[in-house]
Amino acid sequence: MKSIAGINHCFRFDPAVVLCLTMAMVVSSARAADRNSKQPLVANEQMQRIFTELVNANDQVERERIWNQLQQFDRSDRQGLIQQLALFAGDAKGVKASMIPGAVIGQFKMTEGEVIHALIPLLETENERLVKQTKGMLAEFEDQTASRPPDFSIYREIITAELREGREAPTGLVKHMYDVSPGTALLTMMRASQMRDPEKLREILWAEHVVSESDWKRTHGFIARDAVETQVEQQLRQMANHQYWWARFYVVATMKSEPLLKSPELLDMLSSDSNTVVASEALRLRQ
């Protein structure tokens, strides 16, 4: 049904029937698999070829022609275009090829929500270059700077919505947040999970506060760069035994982010966690 809509869209904006039929086929094949599932993203050969042509085009007329083709793709399947751009850039060499996603997303006025929703499923593929590229693209919406923690509020809305619907939080997105900032990720998950008990909230808030404050003291020279404070170890131990998997995952993510805090004992324990995300990451970090 969506591919038919794509054809109508083509006729409305472009009289080139051949191109439209081609694009309809592209849309159809790209949607054969659910892009929100954990299926690997399949390269759309025609889109990939057009990106390559854009990189190699030698004159302005040629580039303009290719750009118009991209606009047609965008009108018929924006999500697919974003995902194919990520796939292309993940393997790109050189500035021109690597900057095409940014140029297309910017010039086509794609919204934050559109881009994020298209990218989240890609965090769960096994294509490491694609995952790296996706994380690099998502950073655009995280407001990362040296002077304050990142902002995951848009992710929180997405995760909250999933949890309210009784679904699991997108694992790839959760892992991504913990990669970027374990503390901010912990607080984001705490809010997204709609916890209401003040005692339980304070337990998590305090753990995050103690660990991040110690990191702050280490960073700014109030304690030695290799100092590990006892209260930090205590809080990590407490979180390692928490009822929620994302709190236990915080322990693994924190130890990954700051190797000084690695505890073989806690990693051993978490390696056999009931949650596979926690267990697999703990096992990987322990090795």
Binding site: S98, M99, G106, E140, T145, A146, R218, H220, G221
Partner: protein, 442 residues
């Protein structure tokens, strides 16, 4: 023919006024009367002036009495002809005609990790070996150094000798220099110094080359000389002057520009990095992806380690396109975290068409001056959709050339520039190189 010429000169030499030998002590090797390390025609002229003179009364001819028989005669001449265009490790009056050894030290530019990548293994040219700026630089290697890529702070030096198995030793000008036969300082591989001189180096009987690894183990910066000489004398066979690094230079390529050996000539940032490496700086080159949007990552960790553990107190950072944005992010993190790092200055930064690097899809101009930089160089051009997807840098307040940097499209050579070639102009690279030289000590 040569001997004939020497005899001819000798036949007319007696009676010439002897005047060439300065001082009483024979401080140079046998027959090397002028002390230039070689025995040649200039030495013969000095020798000829003394033939027939009494070395006991003509003090300036004392060293021409090679065999010490109190006469400057045909026996000395015979020794001279043996040594002509050779070298001696002996001194008058104890010359026997034994041919001395030769030695050549070759130092290399700094290692990176388990080798030299992203640089070629680069020998310091002979003519720069004793230059305290352009010669070999060496990182201080102090306790606490995190060695993020493994032990790579030692400098490789090869020593070639002739004849094979020659008995030679090393002398150092100060105890900061330590010498190892392994690059990772394996136990039992240090070559010991006693009063700043070693015993005979471990050459086998037929061995003509060994590789040594030099460490700067002191927390005091400066220069130090490493000399190779005979075990029993102080005749300098070759020498190298090391300068301890007090600065660090970071080069950040654009998005998708990875370092490579050999360098891609279209990656101008890395071409500049290699040029600075070749003139004695401690240069580190990265794909800009190693700098996160918050400035964290491998590049930051390397600088922090250098400041905290290796006495580095000057930092230079430059980058192209997203590498410009990462230059800002890295400088910002260093500035934010100063209290925990120690005293240092961000003495130099540079953007070439800097693009903000909040993410891989950030296409905004990077027009913020890197926090706390002492000197900022800025090159930019103007993007268009179909030339370069609107990618461009822009004017940066209080940068160089004043007041906001150079719009290369206002120059004859850069008038038609696009984002994808602006980093490759020789004019851009040359200005970067000269301004680094002017603003960064080594």
């Amino acid at each position: 023919m040569r001997v004939f010429a020497i005899l001819l000169v000798l036949s007319i030499a007696p009676g010439f006024e002897a005047s060439a030998f300065a001082g009483d002590a024979c401080s140079f090797q046998c027959a090397d009367f002028d002390g230039d390390g070689a025995i040649g025609s200039s030495d013969f002229e000095l020798f000829a002036d003394c033939v027939g003179q009494d070395p006991l009364t003509v003090s300036t001819c004392q060293c021409a009495d090679l065999d010490g028989n109190d006469a400057i005669d045909l026996r000395d001449f015979a020794l001279f002809t043996i040594l002509f265009e050779n070298v001696s490790d002996e001194f008058a009056p104890g010359c026997t005609g034994a041919i001395g050894s030769t030695a050549n030290l070759t130092a290399y530019r700094p290692q990176h990790g388990n080798g030299y990548s992203p640089f070629d293994r680069t020998a310091v040219p002979e003519n720069l070996e004793t230059d305290s700026l352009l010669g070999p630089g060496i990182r201080m290697n102090l306790p606490g150094d995190a060695d993020l890529q493994g032990e790579d702070d030692l400098i490789e030096v090869t020593l070639n000798v002739h004849p094979p198995g020659a008995s030679l030793a090393l002398r150092r000008s100060q105890g900061a220099l330590r010498v190892w036969t392994t690059r990772t300082k394996s136990a039992g591989t240090e070559i010991a110094f006693i009063s700043d001189k070693t015993e005979a180096l471990p050459f086998g009987p037929l061995q003509s080359a060994i590789t040594l690894w030099i460490e700067w183990s002191s927390a005091t910066p400066g220069t130090a000389v490493l000399t190779v000489e005979p075990v029993g004398t102080s005749v300098v066979k070759d020498e190298i002057v090391f300068h301890a690094f007090e600065s660090m230079v970071m080069a950040l390529g654009g998005e998708g520009q990875e370092t490579s050996v050999p360098v891609d000539p279209n990656h101008g940032t890395f071409v500049v990095g290699i040029a600075m490496y070749a003139v004695g700086y401690d240069v580190h080159m990265y794909d800009e992806d190693v700098v996160g949007p918050d400035g964290s990552g491998v590049a930051y960790d390397a600088i922090a380690d250098a400041i905290v553990n290796r006495q580095v107190d000057e930092v230079a950072i430059f980058g192209y396109s997203h590498g410009g944005g990462s230059t800002y992010d890295l400088a910002d993190r260093l500035d934010v975290n100063r209290a925990g790092l120690g005293v240092f200055s961000i003495a130099y930064t540079s953007y070439v068409d800097g693009v903000g690097n909040d993410s891989d899809i950030d296409t905004s101009m990077e027009t913020r001056r890197p926090p706390s930089t002492a000197y900022h160089l800025n090159h930019y051009q103007h993007g268009t959709l179909f030339e370069d997807f609107f990618l461009d840098g822009g004017p940066v307040t209080n940068s160089n050339p004043p007041p906001t940097g150079l719009d290369v499209e206002t120059t004859p050579w850069g008038a038609t520039s696009t984002h994808f070639e602006v980093d490759d102009f020789v004019e851009v690279r040359s200005l970067m190189e000269s301004t680094i030289e002017n603003n960064i000590t080594r």
